[in-house]
Symmetry: none
DNA sequence: GATGAATGAGTGTTCATTCAT
DNA sequence: CATGAATGAACACTCATTCAT
C-alpha cells in the first residue's frame, strides 16, 4: 500500500493557490487545479472531501500560518504603538514573501463560500492580538470603543493597501507603509 | 448595443443585482439572470456584448449612481470635518436604501473580472471628493500624505463596516457609525 | 427562434429505448443516448428535466400506448374467456411488433427508479380491464378472490413468457401461447 | 481466487446483498460494498475476478441455497398437489426469513448482466422439481404441456406475489398465499 | 428587435480497477 | 494475504453563447 503522500498534498495546496491567483476563484476548476498539481482530478478527492473542503481547508491553513508568523515576529514590548508598528511590519513582511497566499485568502474571504469556515476556530488564533487591544484600552492608550472598531482601523486599511500594492506591480514602498501605520495609530490612540 | 428598450434594460439590471445577491457572483448564470428579468438569454446579448460587459456595465452604473447620490447630499461647507461626516452619513444612508446594489458592487469589485472596468472613467466621478481632500491638505486641516492614503482611511473602514452590518442581520447602528467616523477623522486630520 | 422539434424528441425516445435494450438500464448513460439520437447531451435537457424524467416519461408513454393498443383490439364480447383470449393475443401481437419497447418497460419496471412514476395515473389506463374482471366475478365466471390475484395469473405468466421468447431468439410460437392462455384461464375461471 | 479467508468471504457476501437492497443494483459500487464488509476494495479482487463475478457468484450461491432449502422442506409424498403446496409454503417461508437474499436475486435476475451465469449449472439444482413435474404428467395429474409452461405457472406468480408483499410493507398474508396456490394448481392440474 | 432551441466545452464528482507496499 | 492510494474514463448536468426564425 502506498502511503498518503505529503508531497502530493503540498503540490495540491500550492496548485490551488496558484490557480486561484491566475484565474480567480470562480474560474478555478477542480481539473485545472489537479492538472497544475500534476495529479488526476480523482486523486484530489482522496485528500479533500470536495472542492469546498479543499478551498476552506487551505484558507484555514494559510490564515493560521499567517497569524503564527505575525505573532512570532512581535518581540518589542516597550509601548503599544511599537508593538502595533511591529505587527504592521510583520504583516507586510509576510505578505511580500507570500503574495500568492495573501491574494488567495483575500479572494476566498470575500466569496460567499467563505461562510462555511469555522469562525470560532479561526478567532482563537487571533486571541493574542485581541488581548493586546484589551490591555491598551485598560491602560488608556487606546480609545475605549467597540473592539471590532479598533481591529477595523488596524487591519482593513492594511489589507486594502497590501492588495493594491500587489495589484500595481508589487513594489512595497516602506515609506508609504510607515505613513499608513501612523494614520492607523492616530485613528485608534487616545 | 444599447438604447433598445429602457424597460427591458432596467429589468435586466435589477435581475442581475438580485441574482448576484441571491446566488453569489460565481453561480449567477446568464440564463438565471435572463429568467429573473423575464427575458430570453438571447435578448441579453442585444443589450450587452457578453456576460463580463453586463456585470462591468452595471458595476459602473451603480458606482456612478452612488457617487452622484453622495455628492448631492453634501450641503454643509463650514468645516471639512463636517463635510466628511456628511459624506459618511450619506454613504450609509445610500447603502441602507440600496443594500442589494451595495452588495453587488462589493462582490464584483473583489472579483478578478473587475480589472476590466475603466478606472480612469470611474475616477472622474470621484473628482469632487478628491478636490475636497486636496483643499483640506492645502488648508492644513488634513495630513500632507499621499492622496490614496487619505481615501484609504476615509473609505475602506466604511465599506468593511457596512458590509459586516449587512451580513449580521442588517441593522445600521448610528452610534457605532458615528464612533467609526471619529476614528476615520482622527486618522487623517492634522 | 427554432421550434421544439417533434423529430428530435422521437429520435430521443427511440434512442433511449434502443440503448436500454443494447446496454441495459444501468449502463445507459445520457451521452450514449444522446449520441445515438444524433444530438448533443445538452439538447436532451431541453426536452426532459433530467435522466430520471427521460426514462419515466418514456415508460409512461410506452405503457399508455400499449394499453390503448390492447383495449382497441378487443372486439368480441360474447364470453369472458374469449375476451381474455383476445387480450392475450393482442398483447403478444403488440409485443412482437414492439419488442424493444416491451423489453424497455420490463427493464424499467423492475428497477428501483420505477418508483417515481405516478402509479395512480398509470392505473387509470387499465381500468377497462379491471372492469372486465369485476364483471366476471359478479357473473360467477371468475373466482371470487382478490382482484390482484386475478391480474397476477392473467398477466405475470404472460409477461415472463414473452420476455423468455424474446431472449431465446424471438420466435413467438402461437401454439405455446394458446396453451399458456388455457392454463391462465384455468387458474382464474370458476 | 477462492478459499482464502472464510470469514472475509462471508462478510463480502452479506455486504453485497445488503448494499444492493439499500442502494439498488445500479448504485452498488465496489467501494460501498467493500466498506460495508470492513475490507479494502482491493481485497475484494482477491476473492472475485471482478464486480460481475462477485454479483453472479453470489447470485448462484443464493439460488442454490434457496433450492436446497425448499427441496429439504418437502416431506409429504401422498399427492402431487400436497407436494406442490408444501413447495409454495417452503418458498414463502424461505423468502420471509431471507428477504434481502430474495430481493437481491430478483434485482440481479432482471438485470442484463444476469446473462453471464451458467444456466446449465443452475438447472441441475432444480432437477428434483423437474422430476416431480414429469412424474405428474406421466401419472395424468398434470397437464401434458411444455415443461416450461408448468414451471411458469408454478413459479412466476409466486415470485411476483412475494416481491409485491415485500415492497408493500413486508406482511405475508397466509390466506392470500393459500388462495394463490389454489389458482396455480388449477392452472396446471388436469 | 426578440426569442427558444441548440451545442461544444466544461463542471464537480464517482467508478471499477490496479499498483506499490 | 491484504491494503489504502492512485487513476483514466466515465458520469449527470450546466454554461455562455449563437443560430434560425
Amino acid at each position: 500500500m502506498r502511503m498518503k503522500d505529503e508531497i502530493k498534498q503540498r503540490a495540491l495546496i500550492s496548485a490551488t493557490i496558484a490557480t486561484v491567483n491566475e484565474s480567480g476563484l470562480a474560474s478555478s476548476s477542480v481539473s485545472k487545479i489537479a492538472k497544475k498539481a500534476g495529479l488526476s482530478p480523482a486523486t484530489l478527492y482522496i485528500y479533500y472531501k470536495d472542492k469546498e473542503d479543499l478551498l476552506a481547508s487551505i484558507y484555514m491553513d494559510v490564515k493560521i500560518e499567517m497569524s503564527n508568523y505575525i505573532i512570532n515576529e512581535i518581540t518589542e514590548e516597550s509601548s503599544l504603538k511599537k508593538i502595533f508598528s511591529q505587527l504592521w511590519k510583520a504583516m507586510f513582511k509576510y505578505i511580500s514573501c507570500h503574495r500568492e497566499e495573501f491574494m488567495f485568502i483575500e479572494q476566498f474571504s470575500s466569496s460567499p463560500c467563505c461562510d462555511i469556515v469555522n469562525k470560532k476556530e479561526m478567532e482563537k488564533h487571533f486571541e493574542p492580538i485581541t488581548g493586546l487591544i484589551k490591555d491598551g484600552i485598560k491602560k488608556g492608550e487606546i480609545k475605549n470603543v467597540d473592539m471590532g472598531l479598533i481591529k477595523l482601523f488596524l487591519f482593513s486599511p492594511l489589507m486594502v493597501l497590501a492588495k493594491d500594492m500587489i495589484k500595481q506591480g508589487g513594489e512595497f514602498k516602506e515609506k508609504l507603509i510607515k505613513e499608513a501605520f501612523e494614520l492607523s495609530w492616530d485613528s485608534i490612540k487616545l
